[in-house]
Subunit: 454 residues, 2 copies
């Protein structure tokens, strides 16, 4: 399946030789005209699949689309209304399901703003296809079955861990399912098994490096050559910093659970923009206010249509992620367009140590506890390389601040309730009524003092 292609160019990428390798050369280098023909065929199939779901049947009939054949060209995609995260929540659990529940073999879920998680379903074929996109990403950075891969990302409902795991397994690397945390053990395994590639959040890569000396290691103990960094936005400066600290290549990874997870777009060996796999997704970039396509190369909101997912087709999903297309083809020969690293989001979601948190989730939790007062403040800052969340709330008027026992119990209740909902352990501070700053007009509830990377 994988072919090593002997195109060699000099003078690029720190003057090293780059030897391209493609997991699926025919697909990855398909001439654009053929690629778009293929997209149209897959789009028709995807619309037909969507028409089997209650949600899309209603939505598409409203705009006169009753069959995939109504897609005469890729332009016709624009007749389809956008799908939002709220649509996914409203359609939960079965409204967007295109197959019998018995065909589903996996679900993944992310926490949501209203307590209803965003849940994505997969058939067996969907899992295989997802893994093959990820394998394509990994192999395209130059990794082979000779590599040793330590996956420092949370396994479980989150798509980042299992998503990359299955792709790495398909490539045939030695996969060490280490998960995040436990820096001492991470280093020991990296040394013992000559780990060459890791997958982690950029924060964790910085944090891990800060522990290198303390844990008794030096870079020469390790064989690390590459890192895949994703799950939270980061800047080109951060990438360079991680590369210099570790003396490795860092590849940017893009994905979101609604589109499977990782494997949507990934950097090739040029590390200059992420190839978005257009045989799997149709990508549009729109002006989030006018909903019109932006001019080629301009920044806007990424809108994605997944083309091959049997269990759960999603058409024109508004990712809220801001990016732009490269207008030039990549020297690597892949014809799939590149997007720039995500430069922000159209809404207010916080990403704390790689976990998505909406302020409205926090508000909902604390406002549901009757002893909590009316004013609160969400503070996010850095504790070393890691993010730290502090939730400050005023107590209600009947709580006496000089009795420590019930106050500590209340704090613990708030902390526990927040952790249950947002999967992050916050610091909780209680303040006397009136002690927190009051804003005029729209309250400033979030103070994010982390350096702006994006």
């Amino acid at each position: 399946m994988a072919k090593l292609v002997g195109v060699t160019i000099e003078g690029m990428n720190m003057n090293r030789m780059v030897q391209y390798q493609y997991w699926d050369k025919e697909t990855e280098t398909l001439p654009r005209e053929e690629l778009e023909k293929f997209q149209l065929k897959l789009l028709r199939e995807s619309v037909n699949r969507a028409l089997r779901t209650p949600f899309y049947k209603k939505r598409l009939f409203q705009v006169g689309i009753t069959s995939g054949d109504d897609m005469k060209s890729l332009q016709d995609l624009q007749k389809i209304p956008f799908t939002t995260k709220q649509d996914l929540r409203d359609a939960f659990p079965d409204g967007m399901l295109a197959v019998d529940r018995r065909e589903i073999v996996r679900l993944h879920a992310s926490s949501g703003t209203t307590g209803t998680p965003t849940t994505i379903y997969f058939t067996k074929k969907d899992l295989e296809r997802w893994a093959s996109y990820v394998a394509r990403c990994i192999y395209g950075t130059g990794c082979t079955r000779d590599d040793v891969f330590q996956n420092m990302i949370t396994y479980g409902l989150f798509t980042g861990g299992l998503g990359i795991h299955y792709g790495a397994e398909m490539v045939g690397m030695l996969v060490i399912p280490s998960g995040p945390g436990n820096t001492g053990r991470q280093f020991k395994m990296m040394k013992d098994h000559r780990t060459t590639v890791v997958h982690a959040t950029p924060s964790f890569l910085l944090h891990l490096h800060s522990k290198l000396e303390e844990e008794g290691y030096t870079l020469s103990d390790l064989a690390l050559r590459k890192a895949f960094a994703g799950a939270e936005p980061y800047s080109e400066d951060t990438r360079r910093r991680i590369e210099e600290l570790w003396n490795i290549d860092v590849y940017n990874s893009y994905g979101l659970s609604e589109m499977n997870g990782p494997g949507v777009a990934f950097e090739c060996q040029h590390k200059d923009g992420m190839h978005l796999w257009e045989d799997g997704y149709i990508a549009e970039i729109i002006n989030p206010d006018t909903f019109e396509p932006v001019a080629n190369g301009e920044t806007g909101e990424l809108v994605l249509t997944i083309l091959c997912r049997e269990a759960m087709p999603i058409l024109r999903y508004r990712t809220r992620d801001l990016t732009s297309f490269y207008t030039e083809p990549c020297p690597c020969g892949r014809t799939h367009r590149r997007i720039r690293r995500i430069t922000g989001r159209t809404d207010d979601m916080l990403i704390i140590n790689g976990v998505n948190v909406f302020p409205s989730q926090i508000e909902e939790v604390i406002m549901g506890i009757k002893e909590v007062g009316n004013n609160y403040l969400i503070q996010v800052d850095k504790d070393g390389a890691l993010d730290r969340l502090t939730v400050k709330t005023e107590v209600g008027p009947n709580i006496f601040m000089d009795d420590a026992r019930p106050l500590n119990a209340l704090k613990e209740r708030i902390r526990h309730a927040l952790q249950t909902t947002i999967s992050i352990n916050p610091k909780v501070e209680l303040h006397e009524p009136g002690a927190l700053p009051v804003s005029e007009g729209k309250a400033k509830r979030v103070i994010d003092t982390r350096p702006k990377d994006v």
Copy 2:
């Protein structure tokens, strides 16, 4: 691959109809004579594989075994010396590796007594075979692809999570990779997706039930019918208690990372002893003092030889687990012998919330911190349904107990160091020198006040 076999018997198992189903009927019901012939063939292959490893080449040559053909009968297995956990550590990383490192696609590791983890390697075929054993276990309890399976066990390096996950995926159930913890979310998913089967530690099943009402659910909100319980020993009483609380069937699961992980032995629908898959393992039960086989049906230490693992053959592994064989065949028709639930271990390992901890690990950590005095005590008790670990240490003579700041810092250092090594967050208590009880002779370092289930 899977066949539904319509043998139906009445009057068993709470008067319900039991309809047997076998994942691989031919293998599972192979007449014993043929099964043993097959074992001998596989044993020869396994010995040949072992002879490719430095560890076994030396060990087997010492006793005159130079080829699998030296195994003229299954009796000849007893010419092979036992392999211990210490052997695995001594041979780390490559001493027991029978294939090129490039063939390895996965490793799993458990924490060990001396800081060197026990590490097990898998080729692609090894992973497939492991998943097929697990699929056989799951399918044999009556589960089918119609089931919805919530896997409440830690994913990652621990074999329990990914091991059962791959088997459940092979069966084609809807797998919800929830991992442990977060009771509120567990219940929500159980309700939303009509979860029919869960995998968890017995402790967690008890803990989860204690939160049912508090989290706003009743049993009638749920569709749960079965649980697989493992990763820590538990009694028949505990099983019955869980079954009554949840109104479900609980199936006992046995495995250990050295033998892949889960999938070594599992209860069938009779819930009366665990079928040990003898086409995958040769099981012996020995007297741990004399090393002689015990009489059939008597209790002793389980010794296992894995028959088909390409990457890492292990011959006659002393599991330290105490059990006995059933002497009667099972009415389900499977010919693979049943073992009784594990009634204890031959060494002093503690199992705390499903995680293996050796007192020597704790000692090693705290004795490595110079401010810690010479006496310490490990206390394990119950906090509700969960286990709780408290480590009490005396401080060294130069530490002043009336200065809280440095004491708290020291406590936190000890706690962090322990958590890093044993993956459990202990409570740490500091005591004045001489404050902890002094034992005459061999110190009593561990006080385990948990009800003895085993």
